[in-house]
Amino acid sequence: MLVYFIRRLTQSVVVVFLMAAIVFLGVYAIGNPIDVLINPEADQAERAAAIARLGLDKPLWEQFGIFLGNALQGDLGTSFVHGTSALTLILDRFPATFELAVAAMLMAILVGIPLGVIAGLYPDRAVGRIIMGGSILGFSLPTFWVGLMLIMVFAVFLGWLPAAGRGDTVDLAGVPVSFLTWDGLSHLFLPALNLALFKTSLVIRLARAGTREVMLQDYIKFARAKGLTKRRVVGVHVMKNIMIPVVTVLGLELGSVIAFAVVTETVFAWPGIGKLLIDSIGNLDRPVVVAYLMLTVFLFIVINFAVDVLYSILDPRVRLSDTKG
């Protein structure tokens, strides 16, 4: 297991370094922040001073070297716009996004798995076909459009739920969260639903495919021959087997939900990192964009690792075989 850890760690370091280089160059290519940041009426001297202050006068490789050196010490640069640490900016907004992502994932799991299992048990009945039809809609409808429709129906026409913002928050271990107040919860519901829609469809498909495959296995027939109730056969024997692919994919998806909640956060004016990213790209605020992408890479690496560990808990056969080869 130790060898496995070390190898994974080495791979991760290489990935982070490559990603840093690509991100840094990529952001450099999209535009010159000086044009946006400095008053157009500023004279040459002021302009030169600003460029020097931001460190943009140095050659690219030197800027990259400085960035890497600082990054190793946990400093991902200072926002051109806000004048504060880019990392702090992101971390301040991170809880909002994380809360949204977790809420969306919970919805996807709680709704998707039962629906998928039902669709897998009765693939030829109307209920199975309706569920699958719904999942196609969930896959195909664009997130921003669904978000706007949700706002129109629930916030504008019906007036049941608020359209934007986080609502009242309370501090949980120093971090503001919405889900502990009624107002916060009502603000959380629509964006989480919007974000969950695509993932729910994904979970439905995974759970259905898994159920159909597992139901044909001899061990299910044997379980039935033991006289187990259908509830026990499906709830334990089928469920534990289909959780393997579902957990793998959902784990990876959690990363993408956190990193790419951009559209939903923009539509619902949710003050998370997705909205910060869009604003920073608009302002060509390089350090924030770079820091955001670096954090995203880090997040994916951590999640992948956690999924592997979880996988070995769910599937006892993985435990032995992964330590070697």
């Binding site: 001899d218 061990y219 379980a223 021959a225 006289g227 534990k240 087997n241 599937d315 006892p316």
Partner: protein, 332 residues
């Protein structure tokens, strides 16, 4: 003396599978019975309908298949009329089943104790602790060393033979009155096969459990079964005591089966084989389904033959049976 009721009597069982070409009968009018403590060998080639017969008895034929006719009388009670809930209560408790491939019958992600204890608690309200003790005893009985430790293991930590022992232990947990064993030793080494046969035989003798042993291997049933039913294309073509069927087979098909088994006293000779292949149930020959492969077939065989008991206890479904007195000659 009161009228004798066998543990299981199957009468004219018919199981069909729906297909595009209409209903196809995998089991077509099968009848046999098994008594307390008796071992019945159900013998046939792949596709002869022997496994489907087993699943029909225990009520586990899945769509597109269904039991379309006949009666399955368990201790005189017709199982066809039972609700799914009553049938479930019977499964595993009174009628247990052992499957062919031990690598596939245990759920790979659940521990052995989980899979054993649930088999007890599906039928009885017993404490986890009492159930565990029974599981440990059952594992010990089928010859698994250190049963306490093995209970907390996962199936992949067992060899094939050990897994089949676990499956047998599970089948025995609730002391069923009938066990249906669907080729349980086919996937195992010959030595392991012999051990398991011996153990199952001893267990049935001791507990009075009736056993239906489904197999394509005549050598296995020769040493195990009290009686044999030979199936061909969904029908029983010959029944009798093991000695009757193996020593004086009446049906040309049984004859061919026995001739194709390698044997000590025919060393060096070519093995005979039955020409042709098992016909598809979609395109069975009219009359006797075996006539296209049968050396004795003639025009009479275009009519379906009936089961005729020519020797007490020994019946065959054939117009031209090999009768006692004729030696088992092996066609060259």
């Amino acid at each position: 003396m009161p009228e004798h009721t066998p543990t299981l009597a199957v009468e004219d069982l018919r199981t069909v599978f729906r297909s595009k070409a209409g209903d196809v009968a995998a089991v077509d009018g099968v009848s046999f019975s098994v008594d307390r403590g008796e071992v019945l060998g159900l013998v046939g080639e792949s596709g002869s309908g022997k496994s489907v017969t087993g699943f029909s008895i225990i009520g586990l034929v899945d769509p597109p298949g269904r039991v379309a006719g006949g009666r399955v009388l368990y201790k005189g009670r017709d199982l066809a009329g039972l609700s799914e809930a009553r049938m479930r209560a019977l499964r595993g408790r009174e009628i247990a089943m052992i499957f062919q491939d031990p690598m596939m019958t245990l759920n790979p992600v659940l521990r052995i104790d989980t899979q054993m204890i649930e088999a007890i608690r599906a039928h009885e309200r017993v404490s986890e602790k009492a159930a565990r003790a029974r599981c440990r005893d059952a594992l010990g009985r089928v010859g698994i060393p250190a049963p306490d430790e093995r209970l907390t293991a996962y199936p992949h930590q067992f060899s094939g033979g050990m897994r089949q022992r676990v499956a047998i232990a599970i089948a025995l947990l609730n002391a069923p009155d009938l066990i249906i064993a669907d080729e349980p030793t086919t996937a195992l080494d010959v030595t392991v096969q012999a051990q398991i046969l011996y153990e199952v035989q001893a267990l049935c003798r001791d507990t009075g459990t009736a056993l239906i042993w489904i197999t394509h291997d005549l050598a296995v049933v020769a040493g195990l079964a009290d009686r044999i039913a030979v199936m061909y294309a969904g029908k029983v073509v010959e029944t009798g005591s093991t000695d009757q069927v193996l020593d004086h087979p009446m049906h040309p098909y049984t004859h061919g089966l026995i001739g194709s088994v390698p044997s000590e006293n025919r060393r060096g000779q070519r093995l005979s084989q039955i020409p042709g292949m098992t016909p598809s149930p979609l395109a069975l020959p009219s009359g006797c389904a075996f006539r296209t492969r049968c050396p004795r077939a003639d025009a009479a065989c275009r009519q379906p033959p009936d089961m005729v008991e020519r020797v007490p206890g020994h019946a065959a479904r054939c117009f031209h049976p090999h009768l006692t007195g004729e030696a088992v000659e092996v066609p060259a």
